[in-house]
Symmetry: C2
């Protein structure tokens, strides 16, 4: 061995969270302000080190979600996104972070609560803007999270995870339009989603609206996969080779 400055031979394992919501006509991500060095005062993804010895990665992700954002993990979608382990991603020591992706409805929680210090929703466009400074490699992680989200709602029913317990077909369509940043035909969208078995369950009630026909309210059904998938509008000229 050597006498170098870093005396900790172990690699630290962290769990970070990319918590997304659809709010105010944009896809937003939960960021917290760092209270310690490095990157003190910079915005970062909520997360922390895997502490307890008997805690699974999934459990650690749920715990961090509650501790740092005050959200209740029961019932909301939480999946592994990717694991990041570049040697220089943390200046203190080698850190490998397992990042999780979560979808939460926009309306219920006004953020904050619990242990969270200055947790805030930030539009992903702002977070990904070249001028925005984020801690560690979190900007890249957010980019991956947004891309995963965009493709995930194509073939799963997870877009409904961004809606409240009861929602209209138009609410759901707005989620797609905001996440994809594409306009969708309201008529065809309606026919499509109402035609998928077990996707939407009619409550029988309707919205009371101002100026316009009331819309039927739905709850999420048990279906988890979209069959057939909801395809993004094709780019005008998809010529030549595509790279993933």
């Amino acid at each position: 061995m050597n006498d170098d400055t870093w005396k900790v031979p172990e690699i630290a394992v962290a769990v970070d969270l990319a918590v997304l919501t659809v709010l105010a006509d944009s896809l937003q991500i939960m960021l917290v302000e760092r209270g310690i060095e490095p990157y003190l005062g910079t915005q970062a993804l909520p997360g922390g080190f895997l502490s307890s010895v008997d805690e699974s990665l999934d459990a650690a992700a749920e715990r961090e979600l509650t501790e740092e954002t005050g959200l209740d993990p029961v019932g909301l979608h939480l999946e592994q996104l990717h694991t990041y382990g570049a040697p220089d991603r943390d200046p203190r020591q080698r850190v490998v972070t397992v990042c999780y992706l979560a979808f939460v409805p926009g309306l219920p929680p006004p953020v904050a609560g619990g242990d969270a210090r200055s947790a805030a929703w930030v539009p992903t466009k702002t977070a990904l803007h070249p001028g925005t400074e984020l801690a560690f490699d979190h900007k890249k992680i957010i980019g991956d999270a947004v891309e995963r989200t965009r493709s995930k709602i194509e073939y799963t029913t997870l877009a409904a995870a961004f809606c409240g317990p009861e929602f209209t077909v138009t609410d759901l369509r707005r989620v797609y339009e905001i996440v994809w940043d594409e306009k969708l035909d309201p008529r065809n969208f309606h026919r499509k989603v109402t035609g998928v078995e077990n996707f939407l369950v009619a409550t029988g009630t309707q919205t009371t609206r101002q100026g316009g026909r009331p819309a039927a309210l739905y709850r999420r059904g048990p279906a988890r996969l979209l069959h057939p998938p909801m395809l993004r509008p094709a780019a005008p000229k998809p010529d030549a080779s595509q790279t993933s």
Copy 2:
């Protein structure tokens, strides 16, 4: 991220490999026999601990691939599959393993070589059989790898990664049929894959065959995504009206 106290639990980070190939009419996975406890003598995925401080996860995966299987990582597909970190998955200590998925052509390497001790191709059906004993949680990992592979070849051109440098349309079709365990119509398959831009590049040469018209040989083109996707034959609908 938090922690004013800089305590790091003793967690080891490993990189495991799920290396798949199509060989002898079946989807096979590379397994090695463990030379140390625990699970001494049991078959396991190739892999090892992340040792060097300056090594990225991707680089570690490539290194393990070369060391344990003798395969050359240049040009072959290698992607992160999932990270496994159940507290009790290794009886010695807490181990979090980042698993990678690799596709290699079946023909070239007769396995073994380098540091590999008894590396062998094992049909995934055998590895996943209830009677088969594998080290750690590797059976679950293999199940995840197979499922990822099945869906991946639907919308990417990666099925060609299982073929040699030059291959026929029928070779490619056999890959799909073996991975999906489904029969595909040769005529429609041919039209479809040859119609996708930049998927297959004709070499101009043909196979010399025994009994049958020679087939044109192709190389992989630059396309990485299949547009439109190759869909698995739908499972028979649970239609109550008719039974056999």
